[in-house]
């Protein structure tokens, strides 16, 4: 491809940089392999936390609601960013912008209504019966 490198782009600094990266990373890893101590005592593989000896397993069972709420927070929080974007220029955008942001918020509200009715906002297991009832309700109603 003639003309590809004709616009004054020098490639050798990039190549040098690449070599430097490889040498540096290889040097650090190699030196610590050669010079580093190697010992295997009883506590070598244990996680270090301020000298405390760990108890129990790290695999704690978290309630799944935690993740659901965290996810909804991220989604609705992100959408708040769009509303802020509208709010700072509300006057310039005029009525057209107002209608658009109302549509946007209406969609958000319907999503919230949907989540609420699905029982996604209920904390704990016992109250999720609502969703189950809906599921079995479909089964009867559909035949």
């Amino acid at each position: 491809m003639p003309g590809l490198l004709a616009d004054g782009v020098e490639l050798w600094p990039l190549a040098l940089y690449f070599v430097a990266v490889v040498v540096l990373a290889g040097g650090i890893l190699g030196l610590s392999y050669v010079l580093g101590e190697r010992h295997r005592e009883r506590a070598t593989g244990m996680p270090y936390e301020s000298g405390m000896i760990p108890t129990g397993s790290a695999r704690v069972r978290m309630p799944v609601e935690f993740y659901l709420v965290a996810l909804f927070f991220v989604i609705f929080d992100l959408e708040a960013v769009f509303i802020f974007g509208w709010a700072i220029s509300a006057r310039q955008l005029g009525w057209a912008g107002y209608v658009e942001v109302v549509i946007f918020i209406a969609v958000l509200v319907s999503a919230l209504v949907y989540l609420w009715r699905q029982g996604a906002l209920d904390w704990g297991t016992a109250r999720r019966a609502g969703a189950d009832r809906d599921r079995s309700g479909r089964r009867h109603g559909d035949e």
Binding site: L4, L5, V107, S110, A111, V113, R117
Partner: protein
């Protein structure tokens, strides 16, 4: 926004409005049949609004543009989505363990994303449409979340589509860095055909991103696993609508930036086309799973389409339009048979499931055989006329290597299509692995009948359709 622009935007408004309406409806009460009715109704309304929409090219904001090109491809996409929605009804009815209604919300959103892609004339709307489409597809693939294969397929698609989107965005950023605009036509005008290192890398990265989504050869590894794990309607959707929309975008992008006449890209894409055709067809040879086979066959078909794409010009674009229509009809037909045969537990995707199909369901076996023959490109079917046009476009542009590769590799493809047809007409030695298909829902029967009629119509009398496509792509500059 003027009234005319809102009229042009109506298909998107209808689709998104229907998705929100279904969501609110589900908050009140779940009803599968009603949900399907709303989804199918809104898709039909969107098609109608396209047909009655503005007849002149209408720019809608700097992002979108409704012209003959986008009307044709949007119509194709919406019709395919409609078929998938109709077929999903019976499919999810049989799967009692899954909540089925949300599938249609995702389907409508994916259709909205695809329609956005066909209208996109700006990198922002391109990316937005793509992400709406893939975001819905992740969930549609992993929809049966109790099934490990489905979740695995969903995660695979999520990771690979996310990675390819990152490459795509990087490419767009490089083009933007040089031209200072995200408008495709304006960026192309700024570049004026001369690409330097920066924009060459940028456009190449955009093409890599698109290649991932289309599963072109070096980037095709995800397709078979994802299709196999996904529920059959989703696989049908990913193979038809998603690919059609992205190919439409590729054609528009290439027309704006004149990619085909740029020697480095021409050479790269030609090589990709040859590898794609052979990789798809050779890898399909050993598949005994129909979904995997269709995945590889769709890879090969994307390779065929690249031949017409590289031919460029009106003939090339007409060939792309016609071939995509034929490909979508036929692939939907094969998937329709699979969906109808799928039982309560798993999809009818194994070769054994089709042994002796002609005994149990002679008509269904005939449809199955017809659709596979069309994929192979035998006369009297839409696939034959489509392939004929691809060859004509390739020969017209003197792409001899590509034409030869197309002919050789599609001869190879005959073998694996015929293997399934032979299975369907074989005498079963043992009782079939699946229970004889449940009574076919009337709607699914109607959908299959329409697909067969379209297949034969395009195969026997394609002149009217071709004229319509010619007009559509002629406007679509």
């Amino acid at each position: 926004m003027t009234l005319e622009q809102i009229r042009a935007l109506l298909p998107l408004i209808i689709l998104v409005g229907a998705a929100v309406a279904i969501m609110l409806g589900l908050a009140v009460r779940r009803n599968h049949a009603f949900t399907v009715a709303v989804a199918v109704g809104s898709l039909a309304a969107a098609i109608l609004s396209l047909a009655l929409g503005p007849t002149v090219a209408t720019p809608i904001t700097p992002l979108l543009r409704l012209d003959g090109f986008s009307v044709f491809f949007s119509g194709l996409i919406l019709a395919a989505s409609l078929f998938v929605a109709v077929l999903s009804h019976g499919y999810w009815n049989r799967r009692r363990t899954v909540i089925s209604e949300e599938f249609y919300i995702l389907l409508l959103l994916a259709a909205a994303g695809s329609v956005t892609l066909t209208m996109a004339v700006h990198f922002a709307s391109f990316f937005l449409g793509l992400e709406i489409l893939s975001g819905s597809l992740y969930a549609m693939i992993a929809y049966e979340r109790d099934r490990q294969a489905a979740v695995e397929a969903g995660i695979k698609y999520l990771v690979l589509a996310g990675g390819s989107s990152a490459v795509l965005l990087f490419g767009m950023a490089l083009v933007y860095a040089r031209t200072g605009t995200l408008d495709m036509a304006a960026a192309a005008a700024k570049l004026a055909g001369a690409l330097d290192v920066l924009t060459l890398a940028g456009v190449a990265m955009i093409l890599v991103g698109i290649g991932f989504k289309l599963a072109l050869a070096p980037f095709h590894l995800w397709a078979a696993d994802v299709y196999e794990g996904a529920p059959a309607p989703t696989a049908a959707y990913a193979a038809t609508v998603s690919k059609g929309a992205i190919f439409a975008l590729l054609v528009r992008l290439a027309a704006a930036m004149d990619i085909q006449s740029n020697p480095p890209f021409q050479a790269t894409l030609a090589a990709a086309a040859v590898i794609t055709m052979f990789a798809g067809n050779l890898l399909a040879l050993r598949q005994s799973n129909l979904k995997r086979l269709l995945a590889y066959s769709s890879i090969a078909h994307m390779g065929y389409l690249l031949v017409a794409f590289l031919a460029a010009g009106t003939l090339g674009r007409t060939a792309v339009g016609f071939y995509l229509a034929a490909y979508i009809i036929t692939t939907l037909g094969v998937f329709a048979v699979m969906i109808v045969l799928s039982g309560t537990e798993r999809d009818a995707d194994r070769l054994e499931d089709y042994i002796g199909l002609s005994r149990a369901h002679p008509l269904l076996a005939a449809v199955f055989a017809g659709m596979l023959l069309s994929l192979a490109g035998l006369p009297l079917t839409a696939g034959f006329v489509g392939k004929f046009y691809l060859l004509a476009a390739g020969v017209g542009a003197h792409l001899w290597v590509l034409v030869a590769a197309l002919v050789i590799s599609s001869t190879i493809s005959l073998f694996y299509y015929l293997r399934f047809i032979a299975a369907a007409y074989a005498q079963p030695a043992a009782p079939p692995a699946l229970p004889a298909a449940v009574a076919m829902p009337r709607l699914a029967r109607l959908a299959i009948a329409v697909l067969v009629i379209l297949l034969l119509w395009l195969g026997v009398y394609p002149a009217a359709v071709i004229r319509a496509i010619q007009e559509a792509v002629a406007i679509g500059r």
